[in-house]
Symmetry: C2
């Protein structure tokens, strides 16, 4: 092969690879860097013996960005809504329950174009809150959405706003 043809082929392959990687990244849910400044919706402690303890044992806080906050108040979540499920280990001593290390940072994001098969909602979990540690990935329909179907009347969201 001529050098020019070789170079052209190499450039074409690289361009294709970049396109594939970009598309894959585009379908991923971004790690939310600023959620600690969003609105705190509610909290709950799940203890041993609770049916969801294996997955969700600990203390969790729900946070909402501005779009999701509108969703909580109207019952319908607009595109761009992001809800955080921030799950921490508990330290139970001296008749009190305090927060400990992060177990998982769950993200639920509304994008009716990206997540057509799951009523517009995408899901991801970041193990220990580490951005590179994606524990759900493409499995979000089975791992997350199927349980949220029970909340269809609340736009698939379990938590509710309280004053």
């Amino acid at each position: 092969m001529h050098t020019v043809a070789k170079n052209t082929l190499a450039i074409t392959v690289i361009t294709l690879l970049i396109g594939i990687i970009a598309h894959a990244s585009d379908s991923l849910i971004k790690y939310p860097t600023d959620y600690r400044n969003w609105t705190h919706i509610k909290s709950m402690v799940i203890q041993e013996g609770h049916p969801l303890h294996a997955s969700f044992g600990g203390i969790h806080h729900i946070y909402a960005n501005d779009e999701a906050l509108l969703g909580y108040k109207t019952g319908s979540f607009p595109n761009g809504s992001v809800i955080i499920f921030d799950l921490l280990e508990t330290d139970e001593t001296n008749n009190s329950i305090s927060e400990d290390q992060r177990k998982v940072l769950g993200v639920m994001q509304k994008d009716t174009q990206k997540f057509k098969q799951t009523a517009g909602w995408g899901f991801e979990g970041f193990g220990a809150g580490i951005p590179s540690n994606r524990v759900v990935g493409s499995n979000y329909k089975e791992a997350c959405f199927e349980c949220h179907i029970s909340q269809k009347q609340n736009d698939y969201v379990f938590s509710k706003w309280r004053e």
Copy 2:
């Protein structure tokens, strides 16, 4: 007394009264209407058997306004800092702890001019979160500040920021 003199006296008395009421209101801590959109700092559950259970039993959330958030991150709280201690009853069923009715909404506010006797910090509690139900009032030095003295090295604040 002449009518003009009477009127002048009446106006003077009314003016004085308005001044006294305005001064009294000025020394009070305002009910924080927008704290549910402030930054959530941390949460904790205090159970029966804990030494503070009588006053603070339940689940509490700490919120900070922007000035107070700066204080948490630098260790020194600027004037205008407001910290909320939002205490809710708990509903403990099915091996989980959920939030219930509000017990008290505690407010801690930095104003070095107003609160010279208590290191710049004023305190108030709103029973059941009701703005007119002030449960601390002028008693904040004994009821609140004296316990916070133990945290002098943290500018009298117990809670700490966590990522």
